[in-house]
Amino acid sequence: MMDIKPEIADNRPQTVGRSSSIIHRPSFIKATLAIIQKDLSAEFRSFELISAMLVFSLLVIIIFNFALELDVKVRQSVTSGVLWATFAFAGTLGLNRSMSVEKDRGCMDGLLLAPVDRSVIYFGKAISNLIFMLIVEAVVLPVYSMLYNVNLFRLDLLGVILLGSIGYAAVGTLLSTMSAQTRTREVLLPILLFPVAMPVLLASVKASSGLLAGAEFSEVLAPLNLLIVYDVIFIAIAFMVFDFVVEE
């Protein structure tokens, strides 16, 4: 039996495999990029996730278009609410799908077996989910602008949408990892996610509606600051607890 001395083992060079020339442990950034690239390649081949999110989003804004009064003022006042409701529900669809791809064929185990810090998996998946959300938003915004006759292509508003999406993807990725391990994940994710993501959604709606109503930048600074703080808090918490979430 081999004599095992962990304190000596700790000082071994960090090479992997029997032939040391083959491999070295990958950096955090390289491994994160590998996960993002893998998710994008798989999605751009099948379009299963983005198409589901897009169809759902477009249906929601079309239904609201028919349901709401044609009055321009009313439409302007509800724009941010309709937009964020659409992004939130479509985002949930994407988060569920993104994590079930990993879970259904055991690929999450494949990721967990890699010799990298497990937060790499979190950041890789969160950034992929954010990219999918942004792609859907990039299609929804012009359609919404045409249907509702509202100009949404303003840098300040796009900045708020980006910050809101970051917060939503950050907390959504963590919670979808938890819910993916249950049989009722489709139901469980929104139940877990919406209460937790409420501060992000409220701050996003508040900042968006302020900007659309023509308020000064200083007037929307409070919800904007809140949004930034929530983004940082959610990312930090997810970074700290992800290891425990995926552990048996």
């Binding site: 039996m1 081999m2 095992i4 001395k5 962990p6 083992a9 700790d10 071994r12 960090q14 992997v16 495999g17 029997r18 032939s19 020339s21 083959i22 491999i23 070295h24 442990r25 990958p26 950096s27 390289k30 491994a31 590998a34 996960i35 690239q37 893998k38 390649s41 798989a42 999605e43 081949r45 099948s46 791809v101 064929r105 055991g106 690929c107 185990d109 494949g110 990721l111 967990l112 077996l113 890699a114 010799p115 990298v116 810090d117 552990e247 048996e248």
Partner: protein
Amino acid sequence: MIEVKKLVKRFGLKTILRGLDFSVEPGEFVALLGPNGAGKTTFLRILATLSRPSLGAVNVAGYQLPNQAAQVRAKLGVVSHMPLLYPDLTAEENMRFYGRMYGIGKIEERITEVLEMVGLENRRKDLVRTFSRGMQQRLAIGRAVIHDPEVMLFDEPYTGLDQDASEMLDDVLRTVAAEGRTVVMTSHDLVRAEELATRFDILSRGVIAASTTQKQLKETNLLSFYKQALAD
């Protein structure tokens, strides 16, 4: 290479592993046999760092679990009954992804080498979702050896395979073992286990109930030994 002492694993109030002792020498091929619910998969998941031991000491390839899990993972290759492959990526894209996760240099050379080993070189550009179950399992072995691990863990690798695919998998498993790797495999297929493994451990009610080697089996066969061990 693997040393486990007094391992206990509990899920809530349920105790799955009850003070299990287990050790494997470098280069050994150990078949872990036992009835459903004996704790084989749970045990393998602990060795694979996918599950945390409740109590006990686990050392794999010179590293202690769970504290040095990342170092252990670098030395491990794991194949389960699920392929752990992405169906919307091609065979080589799957290999490239896992290669990048393990930080492999000269990755294209290694992908070609591994795909040739598992007999899928001519299907490297095909999507994994178009593969048969047998081909997926061979590719799963390729994925597991891409980083040239010292220790291989196989959890029911024959599940869902037909006769031809199982025979092909036998050849791949022999190649993997012949390269001097330490192998632990759980299986219900006693005939295959008897052909491949050098040692047989019977896991029952959360402990190793009996153990024998291929040499010792010459007087009897694995099925009789297995039945006897479970009856005791």
